[in-house]
Amino acid sequence: MTAIKILEKLGVDPNSDLSQLTEQDRAEIEALMTSMADTENQPALTIVKPDSPDEEEPKEPESVSV
């Protein structure tokens, strides 16, 4: 199984945990994490400027009827 599939199984199945992994599975995960060590994560998805006119006038939320 690939590392991603192993991680997916751990995430989806509440009865599975690290202790059940084989040596090989652990090595797969380790190798994935090592290969990604230099890959940067950019989590910011919002920006606020100190004088942004957008922020001054709150928008009315759209009314939606279902």
């Binding site: 997916e8 989590p43 920006i47």
Partner: protein, 261 residues
Amino acid sequence: MAVKQGSLVCVGPGMVLGAHMSERCRNHISQADVVFSSCHPVIEQWISTMNPDVRSLQGLYGKDKDRGQTYAEMQAALIQAVRDGCRVVGVFYGHPGVFAQVPHAAIQQAREEGFEAWMEPGISADACLYADMGIDPGAFGCQSFETSQFMFYKRAIDPTAYLILWQLGHAGDLSMTPRQTGPEQRTVLMNMLLEYYAPDHNIAIYESPFLPTQRPKIDWFPLQELPDADVSLISTLVVPPGKKLTPNHAIVKQLKSISGA
């Protein structure tokens, strides 16, 4: 306006790989013509197992590039694919509409151009925070601010409620780049919070894991140590209430007179 071919749905895979994605979100991803994503690189690898055309938006960030420009380019990429007639899915980690400008703006633009566009909710960082830290936002109320917005604008906070400050790693950022700010900016933030809380008031930095093999990070420390705290770009600051709720006797009296109690 007649609805045109091409559509956009923004979805969130939640925070933890495997654990949080709804079946509906997975189906959107697997049925899309093209998937754009802005998530942790490991999560993006996982998403790539669900659709052959997954394009990461993370490469649009640049060390000294204005994030506003990055977000405009993300939006443009989504919209161009919609105009090309594709069923486009935008995957933004956590909940796609929580402290995330691009999904909201892209959906609005797509609709204005006559395309079908909508959002599906996901499990956000604060949803994990409530679970991992045992906080019920209804217990005392809970205020959420983007940290820099809290600093740049005159905001009133209610110290009897929880306060959650997002994007702590960019606190007071005037560079607009993806770079992290430091102790000087956090000293300014600390001084703002000292107007409401005692220096020894305990606050916490929370970081949810993104892999099921990891544990959440919850670091408690007194407010006066905020400048030197161990902060990353995924840190969220949690400030518990610092004052007791004050009963509103006048309103309770008024209500009693209505109910005749």
